[in-house]
């Protein structure tokens, strides 16, 4: 699905990713954990194509294609989805118009026919139920006036609408209460399939009780320094990150 080789990236003068390697196969869920400032969100941003970050080395192959050469929208059309840590509020742009445009672009890229208004609305209804998103929210402006939980549910709703091949969840659990966390996880789990992969970036183990990963990585100072099974997340929860820092040092 995705193969990241020796990826290096910086913002301004500061090097954040310092030779990161990661391979995610179809159907797998990988969790990336790590202390603050280790580069977790940078990784998500670089993969999604945020222009503030400069890639200074390495390569990313996404389904056989060079991901880093693509514009953000091409990545999305190729099937990469980033659930934002801080979803943006866009006053005046209705969720519906926005999603219709997005779904239209993605379908066109995949050589699928455009959805009729009726089919589109049916799809909205089906997918919004998945994350228990109030039908009204779908008709409001993008994220405007949404609570933290609603914004994250809206991210998962959009993911369900766009049916990506690889979804990156960037600290989707941050700021969520336990009910919202359960709903978000339920949405993600409903989308698990042998063809779809997930990279779940989180600071806490809590999310992984709900979205059970196949592999857990620890990111520290821009590199993956430890890889294990879901038990590694529990160990981190218990011991914190200090023992990792010591082993690396």
């Amino acid at each position: 699905m995705i193969e990241i080789n020796d990826l290096k990236a910086s913002i301004g003068e500061k090097e954040i990713l310092r030779g990161l390697n990661l391979v995610v196969k179809p159907g797998e869920i990988h969790a990336i954990m790590g202390p603050n400032g280790s580069g977790k969100s940078t990784l998500a941003s670089v993969l999604a194509g945020r222009e503030e970050y400069e890639v200074t080395g390495g390569e990313v192959i996404f389904n056989g294609k060079n991901l880093l050469e693509m514009a953000p929208e091409e990545r999305a059309r190729e099937g990469l989805f980033l659930a934002f840590q801080y979803p943006v509020e866009i006053p005046g742009v209705s969720n519906m118009n926005f999603l219709k445009a997005a779904v239209g672009e993605v379908r066109k890229h995949r050589g699928q026919e455009a959805l009729s208004a009726k089919d589109f609305l049916a799809l909205v209804k089906e997918k919004s139920t998945l994350v228990e998103l109030d039908g009204q929210l779908a008709h409001r402006a993008v994220n405007e006036g949404f609570s933290g939980g609603e914004k994250k549910r809206n991210e998962v709703f959009q993911m369900a609408m766009l049916e990506p091949k690889l979804a990156i969840l960037d600290e989707t659990d941050s700021g969520l209460d336990i009910d919202a966390l359960r709903i978000v996880a339920q949405g993600v789990n409903a989308m698990r399939s042998p063809e779809r992969s997930f990279i779940v970036i989180t600071h806490y183990q809590r999310l992984l009780d709900y979205i059970v990963p196949d592999v857990v990585h620890v990111l520290y100072k821009g590199r993956i320094v430890k890889t294990g099974t879901k038990e590694l997340a529990l160990e981190l929860e218990e011991k914190g990150y200090d023992w990792i820092k010591e082993t690396v040092a």
């Binding site: 980033l82 742009v93 997005a102 672009e105």
Partner: protein, 381 residues
Amino acid sequence: MERVLNHSIQKWLDATLTYDTIKHQNHDAIEDALSGMEFPNSKMEDWKYTRTQKLNQGQWILQGSEVNSDPEFQAVSLVKTKIRPGFFGCLNQAAVTNAFSLDIASNESFDEPFHFVIKSIEDWAWTQPSFELTVGENASAKVVLHFIGKLNGFCNALLDVTMMEGSHLDLDIIQDNDDSFFQILDIRVDEASKSHCNVLTHTLNGGWTRNNLWMSLNGEHAHAALSGFYLPQDGQLIDNHTVVDHRVPNCTSNELYKGVLYDKSKGVFNGKVFVRKDAQKTEAYQSNKNIMMSDDATMDSKPELEIYADDVRCSHGSTTGQFDEEALFYLRARGLSALGAKQLLVSAYVNEVINRSNNAEVVTFVKQELSARGRIIADEV
């Protein structure tokens, strides 16, 4: 008494002699006023940012506009508009080419809009239409002035609105002129107590456009809403000068002008709000927002608030900037092209103004027109 006119003014007046114009009831006073004037230029505060040379150099041929109205109106033979302080206003009054007067009787309420289409089609045509509109006590109406200007033309239009007590008016102005067309539109609105006037200027296109809108709140509990949008491209110029004059207590005004400026276009916004000494409990809000789509576009925005009363709620603000990069990235990260994302943001931005119109037909028409021209994306699934 012999009048000695400034050379440039004389030239314009001479040019009016070739057409059989409609007389103003205060013709002499208007000629007196003109005799003391200079042709507008950048040394004048009111014309500081808007160049007038090209307009002054035009070989204009005065003629009537082609006016179609629904329902049909008879042209009037004597113009009674209030004398304007500026050159172009007086010029219109000195030589009116088309004059219409619309009186809405007291307590009459019309759901169907009065729709005027004012068209200029000939090359070098110079037209000076004049409109007088009175909305009687507790009457309510919707009026649309739809200007269409073709080729190299100049339309210098004027409108007087008198709102009687408790009256209600939705006035939509549509400006749809060619890239080489000049338009000046001077509107003066006088509002009696408890009247409510909502003016919206939809500038769809035009080479050089100057709008003066002056709204005077003369009776208590009157409300003035004024808004407009503009999307100039290439070398177009759009200038909106507005004045809201709170003369008495307990009135409210709400102003919103928004623009998206492309290419080498130029925008000017000058919005004055006066709150007179007696106008206590005034609530006046003004906002001008601009998005610059090109490094070569310029915007001069000047909000002015003059408050002489002490118990008022007023705010004004002006912002000029680029699109929110985060919003753009968010939309692109969902598969929208950079252009598509910008179009979606422009649509939302402009719709905020268009949706302030209470005339559903106009809202639909304007959105369809802009969307057909690729300026916005039509909304709703």
